[in-house]
Amino acid sequence: MRLARRTALGMLGAALMPVHAQARSLTIAAASDLRFALDETMRAFRAMHADARIEVVYGSSGKLATQIRHGAPFDVFLSADREFADALHRNGFAAGAPRLYARGHLVAWSTDASLGRLPLADLVRDVRVRRFAIANPEHAPYGRRAVEALRSQGQWDAVQPKLVFGENIAQAVQFVQTGAAQAGLVALSLVLAPALAGEGAYTGVPEAWHSPLEQSMVVTRRAMDNALAHAFVAHLESPAARATLARFGFAPPGEGPR
């Protein structure tokens, strides 16, 4: 009985213990194609702000944007396109106009190198490809671009029965990597990640086949006065961060903010 009472008291104590509040904190909501590139970029930024509590949450751009609209405590939003960042700004959820930070690239990828080197039309029709992974076009920019690319090449009808949808682009990559899908249209930045280094082969999808992946970021309205959020935006625009992003296949955004 005494043990039971002590356990109950312990439970109560654990329940009431608050999450340690810190003066300087930053929570970044980032598109899944940044999963490995951003982790690397963050290393230098974390070192510069060792006293701050910095967290990164990954997901599809559409899902993260919806969460921000529903009050999620994110300070900076890194979208994989410009549309989701623009819409947040238009509807008053951003502290300022979106800034372009990189251009993403879509690639056709397979862990079987002989498949990964095929032209798209042959790849989607190959009998060895029973399942073809893309990100969910409803809320993942890479998924939208994959649909556009497949349609523009007249491959939509051929591929449709084979399609499987990742909840975000990292999950689509995971489907291919585990062999659950034999090929897919995914982010170059993930295929170049050390976790996958050199698995299979990939073929770039020409940008002319889809609208560009103009990856844009905004500081959210709630973080308007968060100096760390603005410092992070500046960090991501620094030459060092740009160089890291370039190693993961991102193209530079061009002439400053658009």
Binding site: A14, V19, Q174
Partner: protein, 226 residues
């Protein structure tokens, strides 16, 4: 395991403990009322409502909670009007969600335990002039301790295992809403399978140990002479 994983373990245990405590306080009177008024029409309706989380996809519950608790939702606006922080994507939002989704795991074992012995014996105690509260705590509760044991264990374990609701209203925020099940999902997506294995294996063993301990406790009480 990384510091982030231990943090997820901490959040999960804190969530499960808080949810179990809240449900113990809310569920006990509800279960008692259900046990005493089993044949009434109102009790049948409430009984069905309590069981709803067992059959509904967690995403349905999560969706309604998101709509209700969000800044545009009725409860969300009430919270904002009172100057309170928003519930969605916060630890206390997860507590609210877990209380809703684990409700049957607390209420049903208690209701059955109370109906089995508690109610009749309390009536006997009443004839001996015990006050209702006295009869409840000194007769019904000790007689229903197996029910309490089941209810507490199942509620705690179910909250630890919750995924769908947490995914909808949690937002995967480290230190606040990134629980174990979400951390495993995140590791798998990052193709960090070693980390996913460590957490998944640990959770598997812990869940089995909890259920085994529960069954052993039941057996001991059943087999041992009174």
């Amino acid at each position: 395991m990384s510091a982030g994983d231990w943090q997820a373990v901490g959040v999960t245990l804190r969530l499960a403990a808080t949810t179990t405590l809240v449900l113990l306080l809310l569920g006990t009177p509800l279960a008692w009322w259900l046990a005493r008024t089993q044949r009434s029409r109102a009790a049948t309706v409430v009984d069905s409502l309590v069981a709803l989380p067992l059959v509904l996809p967690p995403t349905v519950l999560g969706f309604y909670l998101l709509v209700l608790l969000g800044p545009q939702g009725a409860l969300g606006q009430a919270f904002a009007a009172l100057g309170l922080p928003p519930l969605v994507f916060s630890f206390w939002g997860l507590v609210a969600a877990s209380v809703a989704s684990s409700l049957p795991f607390m209420v049903q074992p208690l209701r059955d335990a109370f109906a089995g012995v508690g109610v009749r014996m309390t009536e006997v105690a009443a004839t001996l002039r015990a006050s209702p509260l006295d009869a409840f705590f000194s007769v019904a509760v000790p007689l229903s301790r197996r029910g309490f044991l089941s209810a507490l264990t199942l509620t705690f374990a179910h909250t630890v295992g919750e995924f769908g609701v947490v995914l909808m209203v949690g937002g995967n925020i480290p230190g606040a809403t990134r629980v174990l099940s979400i951390a495993i999902y995140d590791h798998a997506e990052a193709m960090n399978y070693a980390a996913a294995h460590a957490l998944a294996g640990g959770l598997l063993l812990a869940s089995f140990a909890a259920l085994l301990a529960l069954n052993l406790a039941h057996r001991r009480r059943t087999v041992a002479p009174a």
